[in-house]
Subunit: 188 residues, 2 copies
DNA sequence: GAAAATAAATCTATCAGGAGGTAGGGTGGG
DNA sequence: CCCACCCTACCTCCTGATAGATTTATTTTC
């Protein structure tokens, strides 16, 4: 049995990914979790606390997930496709990457949340960077800029593609666009 | 002197681009425009009407703007950089492309708005497609997929890059990422 | 061209509902 | 006993939205 705090975070994450941070409310969460609204305030006194906890968790969980993919014994292009698969998986149920949704409402965030979001982008890009460095070393990728910059580009693209694909074309569009990006860096 | 309706649309657009569609309210608009809240309801009875009008206007205005860029007597890579410049310009004042912000809150939209958003993506991609076709013809671009798919990829990327760059790195990051994308398609 | 009628735009006042948030009372396990 | 957890009840503020009076333009009529 999951503890309530975790359950709240899970539901909140799901709701935010689907409808955005400002459309999600404590009422929504409490209805789904099956507890009353003030009980959520017991775990997360203010909404900003919830958002911070969520971003911090996302920072760790997805960081680990990306690392695990990149540490696999595969070619780099394959790894990039697996990374894209993580985003595709969310899209399959109409969910956006937290960095994307929350980032699009950046101004409504508290300073601390904004900072965590910034750090999350930073560390995600760092993790991706490793893959692109490997790709250059093993000769499977040909890059015209630094691995860091390319990693940022790749991450940015996937956040955008999730949004556009959800609104028009769905998974198929996302998949095709991903192929365009990755193949343009693939050595041939 | 601008008419009130246009002024409302201008202010609403600005607010949505900065803080997202669900954080923007009629009160915010009325305070800035300098009229009372119910006066906005006179022009746009329901919020969905405002959003529809906004998306329809965006559809036309930016469509024309993109077309104007693509019809210039420049090389295609230069045109792509000019298109990116439009997004960079918004970013300079912390504003996201309407398709990006509104798209990230897709679920909270009415069917009609969702449809217009879909059409906007579709027609924007069509306009971009023309540029990529020209690029292949003139030999300045080398693509590994159809111009349509590459156009969708490019648009998606810019929407995502606006979000990530606003949260981390700013215009400089956006610019560098744009260069990565465009140069990867540039013939050499 | 002045007056009257019509239409458009804005106002004040108000509403119901939902947002985040608080106070304080149970309840059950270490 | 105490502390963590969840509850009921409530508060304030803001949301989109409506009704109806008032003002401002525009048009029609004499």
């Amino acid at each position: 049995m999951k503890d309530t705090r975790t359950e709240i975070l899970d539901v909140a994450e799901d709701l935010i990914q689907r409808m955005g941070i400002n459309a999600m409310s404590y009422k929504h969460i409490s209805d789904i979790v099956g507890i009353k609204k003030p009980s959520i305030h017991h775990h997360f006194p203010k909404k900003e606390n919830l958002v911070e906890a969520l971003l911090e968790r996302c920072h760790i969980v997805y960081g680990d997930r990306y690392k695990a993919i990149i540490d696999r014994p595969e070619t780099t292009p394959k790894k990039l496709r697996l990374l894209a698969g993580v985003f595709e998986e969310g899209l399959r149920s109409g969910k956006l990457c937290l960095v994307g949704t929350i980032g699009s409402d950046l101004i409504t965030l508290q300073d601390k949340s904004r900072l965590i979001l910034e750090q999350t982008i930073d560390s995600t890009v760092s993790i991706y960077t490793k893959a692109f460095m490997q790709g250059e070393e093993e000769g499977s990728l040909v890059l015209r800029d630094t691995p860091q910059t390319v990693a940022f580009t790749f991450f940015s693209f996937m956040i955008g593609a999730q949004i556009t694909a959800r609104a028009h074309g769905g998974i198929k569009s996302f998949h095709k666009a991903t192929e365009v990006i990755i193949s343009s860096w693939e050595a041939r």
